[in-house]
Symmetry: C2
Subunit: 200 residues, 2 copies
Amino acid sequence: MPTCREEKRDQIHRAALRVFAQRGFHDTTVADIAQEAGIAKGTVYLYYESKDEILIDVFRRYTDAMLDAVDKLLDSALPVPEVLEAFVALQIDLFRKEPDLVQVLSRRSLQALSDGDERMRSFHRYLLDRIARLLDRGTLLNEVRAFDPRVGACVLLAMQETLPLYMSVYGAEASSDTLARVTRELAQFMWCSLRKENPC
Amino acid sequence: MPTCREEKRDQIHRAALRVFAQRGFHDTTVADIAQEAGIAKGTVYLYYESKDEILIDVFRRYTDAMLDAVDKLLDSALPVPEVLEAFVALQIDLFRKEPDLVQVLSRRSLQALSDGDERMRSFHRYLLDRIARLLDRGTLLNEVRAFDPRVGACVLLAMQETLPLYMSVYGAEASSDTLARVTRELAQFMWCSLRKENPC
DNA sequence: GTAGAATGACTGACCGGTCAGTCACCACGG
DNA sequence: CCGTGGTGACTGACCGGTCAGTCATTCTAC
């Protein structure tokens, strides 16, 4: 069983995700991560430069995967309402499949953004820009009413980033049914405001 | 000039707000706060129990003021579209008047929420609930189309809490003109989706 | 046998919180 | 008007705990 370097990093990465989600980044010690991964503290440093680098790796994997998915989605020629629903579903699905990751992100990603983290900054800038261009395209194709597409982009992204938190405030259980319903409702809410036929 | 206890707490509070906004809570030492306030480190502890208590005080003053304003607004019998615009304007005005406070909140309030801070939790629950009831009232009065009011409440609150961050991503200058325009656009965006006449 | 991986005891920087000491100010008696 | 003693707000050196990161030693696979 030759565990190569990448596999070992992954093992540490997954352990870190679990304890970060439970205790938060700051209240987690490197010893906690090592214990969760079933290795010694020193071993962590054979695969990661520092504790910070582990968190940065969490961000990197997330932003890479999300950018991939978003690009694939927005490059498709689907009509706007379907893109909206699929976009909202991206985060909701992540919430279902990787609750620990979403938990860490909701604690840290907006903080990293306001701390001036350049990766998070450009990630957000890129997403906002791509969504705005989608809405712009919709306007040109006469599917979407004329308005500032950046406002729409903000609303959409804001929902993605805060939804899991608000659901926990409501105490809503994260069942597949609930999540599917919320996804539909949200996409419909957006589309209701955007559609050309709207008499606003 | 007899600086009473409350004035001195206020002096420390304002100094803390400035350095928290600049460096973030965790990267600020009590010595930093003391220096900014022009006093010695020990003096801080004559007026506050702990460093944490200073941050809690920041939260408390904000939530108290915001709940007051929201209650006043929602208890008024204004029509829904006007309430929406005034609601969005609450945070935008705060952003203009107290940029340091908004900076600290955008770094910490969602994190505190997901850390399980009970004050933040009940603050959000109360806001979401009041907004949802407003939308419900609108539905009953036949101003607002029928839909899940909780989804609308989430969208509205999400905007309030993330807007300053996204504006900084856009690199938008926080001029009164820009802020007023964004407020209008957002309220219109919400209302476009909510109004009864919408053919959704 | 040995090379590279893994270990975990150790180090030292850091920082929240403490407390013995200072001193500006005031009251009061001479 | 001055000297003396009392007061308490304020100070900052210091303490103790924590924890990221190091490295001499041990293990293991070949």
